[in-house]
Symmetry: D2
């Protein structure tokens, strides 16, 4: 079982323009404050980054930035929406918004840059 | 069971000067390339950040940056070493190095800033 | 003369929804490779951040992230377009795109978070 | 005149292990609050990054992160101290501390990643 499956991450949609991954915050996803662990939010966003950046290339993440805006609670379904900021020959940068599905509130904002090799 | 327990993160040492958290990369921690998922590395670092920043305050993460240097493999034990960069009254920034325990190779480098309230 | 004036930064538009600052790359703005110095791009974006975040609050930057996508050349007019990602009571995060005015090419992407105090 | 000269940045020491660049905050370096403009701090750090990363390679910055800790005032001499975090074949990451020369107080903390090509 992969890490994504272990956490319950589900790829709902995968295209180079928009990739969407979801997770429902369960009791195994909480931090010491009783809200979704930052690691769960990051994993969700990073999975969306991995999927979108590997659709038409072989890509590995170089660096990522994640800002936390709101706490997510047990039972919340979160979605990561990944879109390209800039795709170059050897580097690409993506934006990933983490939103609460129920009301589209922006929970966290992620940006990731990958090193890539185009597939023949 | 908390997220940290779910992933097998273990706090080995917790002081305001140095906090150390470890994890052994198992099969449930892998990405599509067969190496440790970025989300696992982040979760390890973020847990170290949460522990160190909450030792003498109530703190929540605002933003984090993570750079990936080397792939970690199944069986590798990784440690996150958190140290303070600057602790202010309402904000604090920490550095977290993720190293492979066997040879101290730097696998990833994390920085996190928290909003904090000192405890009375 | 302020730093902004010293570099030739010009605020073209300032509202909480969109703030725009421009600069034309001159010979005093070049790096060792003959293209616009990263410091000039940052200064342009940071000025847009300072303006937009201080329109209805007293704000100081906590942290910023800047990704470089394309080189800008002498004679290029660049604009920084700042928009809010999330404005909270004590913290706010803004996105600033740096575009070449002639063709709207995205030259660099900036994100900044400020600590803020609302004005009475 | 280069951007570095225009701002008064002076390279004091340049080796792959440690590169040091200084600037004295003048009246042309101030922001709307009367302290050193974030752009000046960034330019100082970015110059140190450019120098250290180009000593034994051809390098261009991909992304940078800058955290602000303390305000710097007119008359303060600031130094940027750049050291390598990790130098790989095609990518390298450097840490740059910005300190006030008089008391070594940490004013800001910068991290930058470059794309590099080794020189023959």
């Amino acid at each position: 079982m992969s890490y994504a499956a272990h956490l319950g991450l589900t790829v709902q949609e995968a295209s180079p323009e928009l990739t969407r991954v979801t997770v429902t915050v369960g009791h195994a996803g909480l931090n010491m404050h009783g809200s979704a662990h930052g690691g769960l939010l990051f994993s969700l966003a990073d999975e969306a980054l991995a999927v979108i950046s590997n659709l038409d290339a072989q890509a590995v993440a170089i660096e990522t930035h994640l800002s936390f805006f709101r706490a997510a609670r047990p039972g919340d379904t979160l979605m990561a929406l990944a879109t390209p900021e800039r795709v170059g020959r050897t580097l690409a940068t993506y934006r990933v918004e983490i939103r609460r599905e129920a009301d589209w509130e922006l929970v966290a904002l992620f940006q990731g840059t990958v090193s890539r090799r185009e597939q023949k």
